[in-house]
């Protein structure tokens, strides 16, 4: 197998990556080509590596008292250790029909988003953290466990685990979702709400890859809600280049992906209005999420995947310790 070339300037071409075999390989290529070792856990806890001493105070566990120091100094000191925590990462994929759109790029938005999440899963599990997967979409009624207002919209869920064999399972499910293609018009709001229920006692990192084409802005609202619950939230806003530039010309019949609506129109006549509306939509998304403290990345599907992943990781590393989930 010829692995795609990696350039410092151009990165991994999504078109070349698409020709690779399994999703696991693609994820590895992305991760290895773009980043390694940028992630570390930093939550203090029980661990095997000593960090520092602290004078005893009532309430400290007796088992942590350093008796050798007591012998030497006749004072009670308690040992503190640097504990390596397990980060829980929820990867949420919008698998609605609109994500199946392929315009100016060789890869559908769903494929692109899936690859990004696969690379993240690979990275997370490689570093011993727990990664889970939720896919929103029309099929959610049959697969979503448990009650809740968004139960019917949770298409696929893989619970977070840290085992290395879990990566195989997760990528297999993700590959299945991608191959099945986008379907339905359900927004990722249900899947996100599900995460909110599952992670009430433990903060998590939630990464959503979606085009955010939501009728009622519910997704944005739930994302803000998750952030309010102190979860760390990142959004990959995946759009096709044609959706951003609308380069169509000549009499064209546009057909909706999530409904049966059709439109015969001269694109030149409505291009300006469309671009104004798209610009307003992007501004709204960016503004709403930024106000809620959500890490927002607008991604065009012709952008190299490793750069997208790198941007995401770099942006996370820039966030202070207070934003790190534990």
């Amino acid at each position: 197998m010829n692995l795609p070339s990696i350039s410092a300037t151009s990165g991994i071409d999504p078109a070349q990556l698409a020709r690779l075999g399994s999703l696991a390989i693609k994820a590895r290529v992305i991760v290895e080509g773009a980043l390694s070792g940028l992630h570390r856990a930093s939550v203090h806890g029980s661990s095997v590596e000593f960090a520092e001493h602290k004078e005893y105070s009532p309430g400290d566990e007796l088992r942590h008292v350093d008796w050798k120091a007591y012998g030497k100094l006749d004072r009670y000191y308690v040992k503190q250790y640097e504990q390596e925590s397990q980060l829980t990462v929820y990867l949420v994929l919008d698998a609605s029909a609109s994500m199946a759109f392929t315009g100016g790029a060789t890869m559908a938005k769903l494929d692109y988003a899936g690859l990004c999440l696969a690379a993240l899963a690979y990275l997370v599990i490689q570093q011993g953290d727990r990664a889970g997967l939720l896919a929103s979409g029309e099929q959610s009624r049959d697969h979503a466990p448990g009650p809740g207002p968004y139960r019917e919209s949770a298409r696929t869920m893989v619970p977070p685990r840290a085992r290395s064999t879990h990566l195989h399972d997760l990528l297999g499910v993700l590959d299945g979702v991608i191959k099945q293609g986008g379907a339905g018009d359900a927004s990722p709001a249900a899947a996100l709400a599900r995460i909110s229920e599952l992670s009430r006692r433990r903060r998590a990192l939630i990464v959503l890859a979606s085009d955010l084409f939501d009728q009622d802005d519910e997704t944005l609202r739930v994302l803000a809600q998750l952030r309010a619950q102190r979860h760390d939230v990142s959004v990959l806003h995946v759009l096709d280049p044609h959706e951003l530039a609308f380069p169509y010309d000549g009499l064209t019949q546009f057909e909706a992906l999530e409904s049966s609506q059709k439109l015969l129109v001269n694109p030149a006549a409505i291009k300006r209005d469309y671009l104004e509306r798209m610009g307003a939509f992007l501004t709204k998304c960016r503004g709403t999420l930024a106000a809620a403290g959500v890490d927002y990345h607008l991604v065009s599907t012709d952008r190299p995947l490793d750069r997208t992943l790198l941007d995401l990781v770099v942006a996370r590393s820039r966030l202070g310790p207070g934003r790190r989930a534990g």
């Binding site: 085009d211 546009f254 992906l257 409904s259 409505i270 509306r277």
Partner: protein, 709 residues
Amino acid sequence: MGFLAPLMLIGVAALAVPIAIHLIGRRRARIVKFAALDFLLATKRRTARRFRLRERLLLLVRAIACAAVAIALAKPYTSCSRKGPQVQRGPQAAVLVIDDSFASGYVVDGQPWLRRATDEARRILTQLGPEAEVAIVRASEAADHPTELTRDHLRLRDQLLALEPSARPADTTRALARASQLLAASSHSRRTVYLASLLTKSGLRPDDAPWGKDGPALVELELRPSTMPNLAVTSLRVDAEPGAGLRGVAFDAEVANFGDVPAKVELSLSIGDRVVARGAIDLAARDRRTKRFLAALPPGTRATDASIAITNTPGDALAVDDRRWVRASLRDRVRVLLVDGDPRTVRHDDEVFYIEAALRPGDREDSGTQVRTITAEELAGIEPRTRGKAGAIDLGEFDVVVLANVAALPGERASVLADWVRAGGGIMIAPGDRFDAAAYDRTMLPLLPQSLRDPIDTTWGATAQDRDSRALRLVKWEADHPIFAPFSKTAPELANAKFYKIALLGPTTDTSDRNVLARFNNGAAALVEASIGAGRTLLFTSTLDRDWNDLPIHPGFLPLAQQAIRHLARKHVGSSTADHMVGSSVVLATPDLKKLEVRGPGGQGAIFEGDRIQGRTSVRFGRTERPGVYRVLGTDATGTTGVRDELAFVVNVDPRGSDLAPAPATALPASGTGGGGAPSDESRRIELWHALAAALLLLLLLEGVLIQR
């Protein structure tokens, strides 16, 4: 509607082309699955209706354009049976005769009738097409006529637009004759006269046919209103009225109702610019009556202008003949001493019977002439030795002395007369049987402009049948001279007079400004004028009674005698009392003037100076195109310029033109064959492809605009 090339209508099938393109275009639209369709739909909701409308409009425009091309190529036409003249398009000769007489100013529906006529004429001009050679002939009396036909239709249109009602009556017959002459010179076989006229009775002379059988076709434009009532002041004369005071004058205005219903006519008299009297008169249908106004001339003026106007409310439809002007003047009496050289007891045999009657017609006191008649013997009273005695005559009491068939005066008497003439008197000498040329040469030369020779008798030896044919006739006279001002150049009232015996002239005498004013057909002088000092002498070479001629029984004798006497007395009747019509020329005496300016109503006028006035006793002014008062300014030898009230004159419209009664149909000349025959189609064909082509251009323009939107 019909088509000249109906096969071209097959092309209408091209209508299907834009429809097919439209439908195929819809089917071949690119299909794109698009995720952000909601954004498109939101945009589309606003523009959808406009887009759909534009698409349908484009389809419609293109379909109509395709069909229009085919239909235009098929040359559609329609037939119109509209009432109106039949006008054929194409090469031809045509004359538009437009009635621009003052009656054409008759207001119909708020605008002059002439505007209706010119509008119709312009429509005909358009229908004739650019290949037609056309001329416009105006039908007012003495109007200038074009010399040739032209294809310069733009200029003709400008002429029509500039046409205004004149102040002259109509002379339609003359205009038709001129139209016929123009058309006769054309090489076209189709020749037509289009007549836009009110067809008044006075404008047509049925006996004077403008063309024969081969004349042009005549198309009469029916533009005359059904009824044309009209009120007019048709005559106005002014006379001294002693009953109204020393400055009293009487104005007699003849007012006519040319309508078919009775009318009460309100009148006003204006002297100068001031209304001094008002009155009313009831007129039956087709009636005319005279209304008299008495007034006094303003103190200090011997002559002024006055006018009588109809002031009915609402006004008359034809206003130009509702006012008539006149010059009112207090005339100076001319004192004349008639010396009868051959008194008779039978009055009409008397030498001065006719001249006396001519100077005092009807023996009226208001004749303006005071006449005293004496015999040749009684003339001895002028000699100084008789002064203070009975029979003495003071020549200072007279302005003019007339020697009628007086034998040669004794030298002393002739000398007294000559002195009197040199001092400013006027003398008129006429020979007769008592005249002796040799005796005249001895004593009378100081009074004569030219010496006299023995008379010749043209009837000597002639039979009674030949007598009239051998008589001499007046054939040439100075029409511009004040004496002949009342006469035209061919006045029959003078030209018809027969002269059987005349005195011949010899060498000129010691006089200045000698001027032969009239001649006989044999070239001999009939009337000779000369200046003697400050006075004037006038020599008539025949008798003043019927012994040598029959002039006294011709109508020209009275005005000739009166004009001659007033000229000698330097008291011209002038132009002021004459009733001048619009278009007539007016003779103005220019005594000792070096510059004369005439100012008419509406700025019309003329200036006579330099060669136009020097050495002349009168000038002739012909630009009397508008009715009203014409004022005269004169500059005398000292360079002083002032208003010459005695020369002012008035001009009025010809009352013949006020009668708007329609001429009978027979008064119009019969329509000729017009060479190619007059158009006979009942309906006219109107070709529509020009309009279709224009519509096609507009459609293409519309399509371009729609595509850009």
